[in-house]
Every structure is written in C-alpha cells, then in structure tokens.
Symmetry: C2
Subunit: 351 residues, 2 copies
DNA sequence: ACGACGACGTGTTACGTATAACTTCTGGCG
DNA sequence: CGCCAGAAGTTATACGTAACACGTCGTCGT
C-alpha cells in the first residue's frame, strides 16, 4: 500500500505583506524622535523622558503592532542572546530533556537556544556553524566528536561542556554527572544481592561517559572473590541490544546472572533477550539500566536504573554559560545521581 | 541522600577575546575593497572579479578566520533564513522526530530551525515570540493552543500547520496525516479478528488529531452488529494510562476484549493494566497503539500500532514554508499512514 | 584615429537599532 | 537680574553587510 502522498493547491495564498513598522514609524506617529522611542521601549527612560510621553510612545507602539527588529538590535549590541546546544540526537530522551532544561533557564534571561544535532557517534559533524544559521553568543556541547570540538574552538566562543572529560577539553566550564558514583552504586547493589558473574552491556560508541562506566565497574569488582565481569558492546538500539545480550547469555562458560546496561534502551533489549531464552527477569537474570527514561517504567518488569538529572544538566550548563557571558566566574558542577531500585533486580538463582 | 551538587571554581577562564575580523579587515589585508570581498564570498563575482583576485580574497578570508556577521547580513537582507517550530514538548518522541525532519530539510537550504516548546495542552503559551529570541522568516506549528495561534497571526509571518484542522486555521499551508484512514485500519483489523467490545483509551487533551480519531472510530463501528465502543480519557503518561485502563477493564458490564489507544505510551500503560488484573495480552485483551515510537518494540508483546511518518511531517512542513518564502505555491499534503501488526493483537478469547 | 565596449573593480548607501553628546526650556536661588 | 541645574528631548553616529551605480582601463572594430 505504498500510496503516494496526496497533494493539492490551495487558494491564492501569498498575500502581499505590508512592511513591518520600525521604531522610526512609531516615533513619527507619536510625534517624537526615534531615540525617544528606543529609550522608552528599552526601559531606560527614568529621568530622561516624562511619564506622559513614555505612555504615549508605548501606546503608539502597541497600536502599530511594533516589534523590534532583532537583527538590527543584535548588530548594534554585538550580541544575540542566543546559545547553541550541540547534542548527538534529539530523539534520545536524555538530550531532549537536557535541551528542555537549558531552554527554560535561557528563557528566564531572555535567551534563546538553537540546536545542532551532531550526527551520532563519529559522523561528519565537521562544522556546527555551517548549519547553525544564527549568530551566537556561546556554545554548550554534549558528547561531541572531536572535529566538531575543534571547529568550536576556532570560533573563540565561550564553551560549556556537558557530561564529558573535564581534562583538557578547552571548555570554559563543565557540568558533569557523577557517573563513577552511579556505577559504583549499581555494582554495590548487585554484589550485595549476591551476584558474581556480571556482564556489562556497553555502548559501542566510546565517549567519556561510557569509558568511565567501564573503568569504574572494573575497579569496583576488583578484590571481590569470585567476581567476574565481561563486556559486550552494542549499538544504542533495542534490537541490537537484544542480539548482543542473547549472545552474552548463550555464549560459552557459565551464564551471567546480572546484566549491567549503559542505557535503559539497552536494558529493554536485554530483557527481551532473557525472555527469548526462556528465562525470567529478575528471577534468573537481573538487569539494570541507566538514565531513567520514560521507557524504564513502561517495560515489565520496571527497570532498576540510575536516575540522571538530565534537565538539571541543561540548566546548570546554561547558567554557567550565562555567568561567563556576564564576566562572572562559572561554576564547574558535578551533579549527584541516584540509584532507583525497581523490579528488574533480585538475588541470583539459588541464593 | 540529598547530597548537594559539588561545585568548585576553575582557573582564570575568561580570556580577553580579540575582536572578530570583518569583511573590511579582509578587504584591507587583501588589498581590495570591501565590496569586492562581499561579492566574492557571496559567490556573485562571475564576470565581475578576476579569478586571481577571487582566489586571493578567499585565501585571505580563510587565513584571518573570517566568518560573516549574521546579524549584519540579516539586517541588510531583511530575512534571517530561520524558522520557528512550535511544538508541545520535545520529550515526546513524535515531536523530536518532526523537528529532526524539519531541520534536515532546512539545513539543505541553509535554513535554521529554532524551537518554541509551547507548554503542553492549554498552558499559557501566550506569546511564542517573547521567548523566541530570534528574528524569524516563518513559523511551523503543531498542536498549538489557540492563544498562541492568535499571537502568530498577529505577526503576519507565513504559517504552516502540522497535523491539525485544515479548516479556518489561517495557515498558508497544511501538512496532515491521514488520521481517519489510520483509525479505520485499526478498527477494521480488530473487527476482522472478531472483536466487538472495544474501549478507546483516548488522550485527555482535545486537539484536532484526537477528535478525528474518536469520530472515525464511532463511524467505523456503526452498522456492525453487536459492536460496542466506550471512550476513556487519560493523560499521555504510562501510569495515568495504566490506571485509566484498569478502571476500564474492571468496571461494570462485560469486559472489553480490545483497547485502542491514542498513543503507544497509553498502550504501554494499558498492557501493564491488563497484566495487573491477571490477564494476558493478546490472549485475553488486544491492545493497539499509535505513533510507532521506539517504545512500541521495546515492550512485550511488541505493539500493533499505526506508524506515523513523523520525520516526513517535518520535512513537508519545512518544504511548504520554503515554497511560501520563495513566492511559490505551497503544497497541502496528506501523508499516508500504515498499520503495523505485531504481537499485541489477536482474536478475542473463545473465537 | 576614435568611439564603444567588456573586464575588473570601487565608492556609496541603506538596513533598524542603541546610545553618547548635545540642545532647549523652565524654575529657583543668590 | 543673571546664571545654573536639572528635566525632557533631539541629533548624530556606528554596528557589518549587500548591492546599485559608477569609474577606469585596455582592446577591438571600422
């Protein structure tokens, strides 16, 4: 049924639009000078313009439907009150939430946020600015390819990095999640339940946040007698994860009793794999996720996972950028995370 | 464990930035006039500037790291190559995908897309432009509150509406999904399996797309002997949906054998409700979704649902806007949808 | 030999705003 | 009466770019 899109043509449509009124038009209509209009509308008229004139100007502006020309203002002021947010993909709920947080703080300060969805992973992402058709005051970047990072550096725009390596990034500020602590909590939880054979279903893309997880996990089990960790990489997609998890569970050697997944998406795939092999979660195999997406409570059993405060990441990132633009000292923040224990983890069978 | 965020202060940080080079700086360095630089870099020099000079200018520009000042260009040209996309919330995968589609078409034409996440449902959303700190060429709006619509009309910016009532919206173009056809396919599928007692788990927000679904469903079962449809509204959230579905399944009268949900999110909640009552999907109760989100294949059983081409909605919307801005006639499009049959539907028990 | 024409550029202007610097007027005070 | 201070505006300018309308050659046709 590959029915083609139906299309038809509407009426005349393109009406000729009258030119937008400028501040000079308002001035003329109100019988004052353009400068006065600018003063009044810019709220800088205290002691410079009489109350009566100010009111007159404001009314005239409203009647004419005056809206200031942003391009002209930006040119005059040399800043745009606009920040660029660079993320791998908006369809990942985590990044959508980061955007939401950043945009809400921005709005409070009359700032805007434009997005540059850098192609996932190592994709081109050569130049965020070829595509970002806006004048920018600063950049907030998350999980970004190094070529893109270089392009940003070349612009000498202030840069805030999110959830990425704090060392040598050249960023003016960092907002990080306490990923190491998160992984430690997950590991402690599983070890405490009695699990010893653990498989780490990891993201195939290697960025700082994922590297830290693997390293922390390795370190956390060191010295625990009998503990054994294996790592299996997977693309961040349910069915890729299902296949990877299936291989991990049915491979040679003793079957793992717990799967630590780098994302709730991977965990959902892992759950499907367990079921497909005729086993049950959490009775036979425990599964943990990461992120606490909406997905985590939509699947069954609901996922034990790490709640990452995505909105806060965006909020703090934007705040840091605003501080920099204000000439203030930005704060490097490390946000705490929390383990949310739900139904996908339990003691291993026979414990 | 409400551990507060740790913060610390980085080094000096705010280095004094050298002023960005302008086209005049490039001109001086290359020993030509600013006009020539503008011609060369604007690719309008064919037959006006010698090949050699053009090359010289381009090299000098690159060496100085020249990037044109967008604000100045926008002021001069009177357009910004920027569109505003108004959506309820980016954290809904559907809208994130609409954005992605719109942004990709925009990028091909050196356009940018800025977002205005209008508070969901009837929220304030008074003025998309108070928050949209960008100069705009046009607006694309989806599922928008009527106050916001009025604010947009007041700006005489060209408006393209997505998935909304084609009648009397004042939009210059519409991109719609064939929602009625979608609901007809769902209904036919379930009726064909033998279902007669059907509950419609509907969205509590009443926008065009949801109204059409209810109307179409009512019409589709008309004349089918014994067919009975009830409607239960719910917020677009898994747990709200679970509770609504639970009430629907355990209420008085004969239990429905099928749940038609207005969203995969609602369907996921419905599945949980069925399970909680000790019943099975699809053996005891069939469940259908809408949207075909990632969620649809993450839950078990995988959802029978309607695939909505979200990216295409965004793409067509942006194309229509570009057409309008070009002075061409925009196309009003109705995109076809398709029913995806997976594991959440089956014949009713005892059929 | 002379005018015309093409090739190659340049001078100049306007876009709409914010603001520094200047003018004008009124009243008050010595 | 003379002068100054403040109130209330206005004039003028710059931000960086794009593009229109000219200039200035050298060459070619007749």
């Amino acid at each position: 049924m590959a029915e083609p899109p139906r299309t038809d043509r509407p009426g005349p449509g393109t009406a000729t639009r009258p030119p937008r009124p400028t501040s000079r038009d308002v001035a003329q209509a109100a019988g004052v000078s353009q400068a006065t209009v600018s003063l009044v509308l810019g709220d800088k008229w205290r002691g410079r313009v009489s109350e009566r004139t100010a009111g007159l100007v404001r009314n005239t502006a409203r009647e004419l439907g005056y809206r200031p020309n942003l391009a002209a203002r930006n040119l005059r002021l040399g800043r745009t009150r606009t920040a660029l947010l660079v993320v791998p993909a908006l369809t990942h709920e985590f990044f959508a939430r980061v955007y939401t947080g950043a945009a809400s703080v921005a709005a409070e300060h009359s700032f805007g946020v434009v997005l540059y969805p850098s192609p996932e992973g190592v994709g081109p992402a050569k130049d965020p600015f070829a595509s970002a058709r806006a004048a920018l005051d600063g950049v907030i970047a998350s999980s970004i390819a190094s070529e893109a990072l270089a392009a940003i550096r070349g612009t000498d725009l202030p840069l805030v990095m999110l959830d990425s390596d704090p060392a040598g990034s050249g960023a003016a500020a960092h907002v990080n999640l306490d990923i190491a602590d998160a992984m430690r909590q997950v590991t402690d939880h599983l070890l405490g339940l009695g699990h010893r054979r653990i498989t780490h279903l990891a993201s195939a893309v290697t960025s700082w946040t994922f590297t830290v997880r693997a390293d922390t996990l390795a370190e956390a089990v060191r010295g625990v007698p009998g503990a054994l960790v294996r790592t299996v990489p997977s693309a961040l997609e349910v069915h890729a994860a299902r296949e990877a998890a299936e291989r991990a569970l049915s491979g040679p050697g003793p079957r793992p009793t717990a799967l630590i997944c780098d994302s709730d998406v991977l965990a959902a795939g892992a759950v499907k794999a367990v079921r497909k092999l005729g086993l049950r979660v959490p009775d036979d195999v425990s599964v943990t996720g990461f992120d606490d997406l909406a997905l985590a409570t939509a699947v069954e059993p609901e996922l034990t996972t790490v709640r990452l405060p995505a909105e806060q990441v965006g909020e703090h990132g934007m705040s840091a950028l605003l501080a920099i633009l204000d000439g203030r000292e930005p704060e490097n923040t490390v946000l705490p995370v929390s383990l949310v224990i739900r139904g996908s983890t339990a003691p291993p069978p026979g414990a």
